[in-house]
Structures are given as structure tokens and as C-alpha cells.
């Protein structure tokens, strides 16, 4: 089985993001960038399937600016075999990403595609579902367990009331949730090895895909800040204030 994983370069999850003063976007200059945490889980799952003898090859794909090569190298250091970068400076929205990934999938012909359920920058939670729709494939989103069988994959999904399991015919698409696995730390020798693994660079035009954004961001603002309230010195005071002052008890 061949697995394709998609990885996104995002502002690191520890960074407290700020809106630019002119409201045109968020401040990303001199900000630490990392692989989207959900995509790390996707790479880890693919590598585990390979280690379990279920997968032969793992191709990692990233889309965006040239620096996404760093993100791909991280995926290669975790265990992916090859990298593909679709390089563009154009702002990519989920529909465009899904169309580009569809073109890559049609070239690479994987049996399983694994992506993070959402990117922690734009918080869209769309790309996997859109890609599955464009390919006409079944999807197992928000996965907490992936079991590959003969021609099928069973995916346990985190839903609002608990867990649900669906059976999907391969080829299929999975998006990861937090409890699927705990991604490994990358070791130095693997980082060195990753530098020698193949990494192809394509342009959107090579794939014949229209990537024009459909949504225009008119402004980006920080929401009103919540003010810290008061500290109380005892549980009795707390309950009294919630009752008499805040009127919520």
C-alpha cells in the first residue's frame, strides 16, 4: 500500500498571534514556524503503518512558499520516503489546496491519504473532506484509530457524543484527531538522512489547477480582551459572590 500525507507549514502553536496594526493580516515576520500539529500526527500514523508492514511507501506533500521544504524535511526525518512541494507564493485556500492535492494524488496513485483535521492557523477544517469529495473517495475524519484491512480501512472517529467507527473502501482518506497517536521526536541521525531523501518541486501550473482565492479577507482584528477579575480568598466568598454579585447560582 502507498500512503500520501499532506503537511502544512504554520505559525508554531506556542506563538501568541497578533493582528497587524493595519488590520490586513496577522504578524508573521520573525515568528517561529512549524509543521501543523495535526499533520505531524498524520505523518506518524503513516510511518507506524509502514513499520507494521502495512505500507510500502510514504509520500509527503506540502503546498506553499519555498520554506515549506523545511516542513517536508521534518516529515522525511520522521520516516516519509519522498517529498513533493507544490511551490507558490499565492495565498492558498482549502478548495485550491484540495484541487492541487487531487492532481498530485492522480499522479502518485496512493491507496490512502492522511491529513490533519485542521490547520491551527486558519482553523478551516475542510481540506481533507474537500479532497475526498473531488476524488469521489470515502472519508474518515477526526480519526482516533485507523485499522487497515484487505481493501478496506476502519476508522474510529471522535464525534460530539463520543466515538463512531466507519468502514471505508480503499482508496480512502483519513483526517487525524489528537488521540490518534503521539508523534515521535525526530532524532539527529534521521535529520541527516532526511537531507538525502528525494524532494521534487512542482508549480501549480504544472498541475493545471486554478488556485485563485475565492474568499477575500477584508480585515483582521483582535477581539476585545477579557479583563482579569478579582481573586477571592475562600470558597465561601466565591460561592457568595457567584450568588449575590454575578447572579449565576
Amino acid at each position: 500500500m502507498k500512503i500520501l500525507v499532506a503537511v502544512k507549514r504554520v505559525v508554531d502553536y506556542n506563538v501568541k498571534v497578533r493582528a497587524k496594526a493595519d488590520g490586513t493580516g496577522v504578524e508573521t515576520a520573525n515568528v517561529k514556524m512549524s509543521m501543523n500539529p495535526f499533520d505531524e500526527i498524520a505523518v506518524e500514523e503513516a510511518v507506524r503503518l509502514q513499520e507494521a508492514g502495512k505500507a510500502k511507501e510514504i509520500v509527503a506533500v506540502s503546498l506553499g512558499v519555498a520554506a515549506c521544504q523545511d516542513t517536508l524535511r521534518t516529515a522525511l526525518a520522521m520516516g516519509a520516503d519522498r517529498g513533493v512541494l507544490v511551490e507558490t507564493d499565492v495565498e492558498l485556500q482549502p478548495l485550491a489546496v484540495a484541487k492541487l492535492l487531487k492532481a498530485v494524488v492522480e499522479k502518485e496513485k496512493p491507496d490512502l491519504v492522511i491529513l490533519g483535521k485542521q490547520a491551527i492557523d486558519d482553523d478551516f477544517n475542510q481540506t481533507g473532506q474537500m479532497l475526498a469529495a473531488l476524488l469521489g473517495w470515502p472519508q474518515g475524519t477526526f480519526a482516533s484509530k485507523v485499522e487497515v484491512g484487505a481493501g478496506t480501512v476502519n476508522v474510529t472517529r471522535e464525534i460530539d457524543g463520543g466515538l463512531e467507527t466507519v468502514a471505508l473502501k480503499l482508496p480512502a482518506l483519513v483526517t487525524t484527531d489528537l488521540r490518534l497517536n503521539e508523534p515521535r521526536f525526530v532524532k539527529l541521525p534521521n535529520i541527516m538522512k532526511a537531507k538525502k531523501k528525494p524532494l521534487d518541486v512542482l508549480k501549480p501550473a504544472d498541475l493545471g489547477v486554478d488556485i485563485a482565492p475565492r474568499l477575500v479577507t477584508l480585515s483582521v482584528q483582535e477581539p476585545p480582551k477579557r479583563q482579569a477579575g478579582i481573586k477571592v480568598d475562600s470558597v465561601a466568598t466565591l460561592v457568595d459572590k457567584l450568588h449575590k454579585e454575578a447572579h449565576v447560582l
Binding site: 492557523d121 482553523d123 457524543g161 466515538l163 475565492r214 483582521v220 482579569a228 454575578a246
Partner: protein
Amino acid sequence: MSILVIAEHDNAALKAATLNTVAAASRIGDDIAVLVAGHNCGAVAQAAAQVAGVKKVLVADAPHYANQLAENVAALVVSVAGGYSHILAPATAAGKNTLPRVAALLDVAQLSDVIKVESPDTFVRPIYAGNVLATVQSSDKVKVMTVRGTAFPAVAATGGSASVEAVAVAADAGVSSFVGQQLTKSDRPELTAAKIIISGGRGMGNGENFKLLEDVADKLGAAVGASRAAVDAGFVPNDYQVGQTGKVVAPALYVAVGISGAIQHLAGMKDSKVIVAINKDEEAPIFQVADYGLVADLFTAVPEMSKELDKLKAA
């Protein structure tokens, strides 16, 4: 403007999230239809027809809609989408699963987690865990979006008198099937609908200790939630998680116990009306958003709170 709302339900009852989504739809226009896709879901369709502001209910009743498989429901939505300018679904696990498929099949973008309608083509949505709000304009012919329930007070569940009509059932895509589910059983209110929530974090130490919170929750008619750390540690199931990628809640009272207050958690609860933090670390970031903070060991404070609530009730 003609708006289609995808109903959230379990074949037996219409879920409250639908009422919030109809509320968002009513900010766009007043020609609102609700699609109920399910199996043996007649009661849901009747309930949807009572919802204030709904003009028409479309029902697709077939076995392959019973479990809301995205492949089948998305194909159905696309088959009835003609003529609608907007397609809305609640930003629930089901809505998030299905609606991007609909958007892709219609070749349009999707707006996720809309919290404000500025105009029929311009909407506000949080990005970066809600640290910033983006005002976004769509140029697509059909606007497809998921709606954050906490941002739109629910319309009345009764008072409407919509017509109910059956729509043609699309074929079963045949590529996916439902195997089973493990739902958390609880007599407490659902997190997203609760007026009071008491949540525990890593500081709870283990799952057993959540009983302390359950005891207080039952006295308050509250729901019990958790931070990601507590879920990852296996203290409680995934459906307890409040945060950027879990549930987003905005109750009248949110009590955070042993939760440090990572930005990812704050993203899920900072719109609560009153926030209480109980934490032994006075430097914990949760105190920066709390209306009332108590620096204390939760293992003495929570049982004490339970006793104080008894006194309050007796008074």
C-alpha cells in the same frame, strides 16, 4: 436570498444546534428551508416544521442517511442545492464532516465557524484559535458555511408552521458504511447546551478524581468538561474536550478546575459570561481571563464548594 439549513438530529429528535443555525440564517434572509436527512426521521421533520422562521422542511428518509455518512449526505445536499444562495450547517462534528464535501462538489469555498453575519456575502470568523477575528467576503455564487452555535442565540423551537415535503433520495455511494458507536452516557446536559460547565484539567490527577467535579455538577445541573491535557491523559473521553479543536462553549458560568489556561483551551470557553478559575498556581494564565479566581488546592476547594452549595440551597 434563499437559505438551506442542514438539520442536526439523531433520527429521533432535532438537536438544539439547528436552532442556532436557523438564527444565523435569519440574519441573512427570511426564506429559510431546513433539510432533514435521516432514516425514520419523521418526528425530526415535524419538529423542524415548528421552528420559528422556517418556511419549508425537506425530508430525505432512507437507510443510508441513518448515520449521517458524509459521502451520502453531501451528495443529497448537492442534489437539492439548486436555487439556494446560502447553505448552512452547525459547526458540529456532523456539520464539519459533511459541509466541506458539499462545497467542493459545488466548486465553492466554505466559511467555517461563522460568528457574525455582516451582510449576505460578508461574515466574521475566528482564526488562530480565536486570537484574531477575520472579516471575510465570498465571491462564490453559493455561500456555504458552518455556524458557531454560541454566537447566535437560538430561535424558538415552536411557533413556526412550515410545509414538509419529501425530496428524492440520492443513491447510496456504497463506499462507506457505519460499523458502530460508543456514545458517552450521561444524565447531565450536553456541553454545548449547558448553562453551567465545570471543567477539569491535568491538575485533576486521574479520571477517578473527576467524581469531585461530577458531584458539584449534579448540584448545579451543570455539564462536565475537560482540557485537552485531561483527555490526552485518558482521565475522561474525547467528547469532554473544550477548546480550539474540541467543543466551543459559552455558558453563563464556566468553572475551570486545575486548568492552566493554554490559548487552545481559552479559545473554547473565553466567551463564557462568568469564568471562575480554581488553581493552586497563582501564575496560571487562566486567572488572566477569570472573573473570580481562587488560588487553592482543588482537592480541598472542590469538596468545600460542594458543601457551600448545599448551604446555599438550604438557605
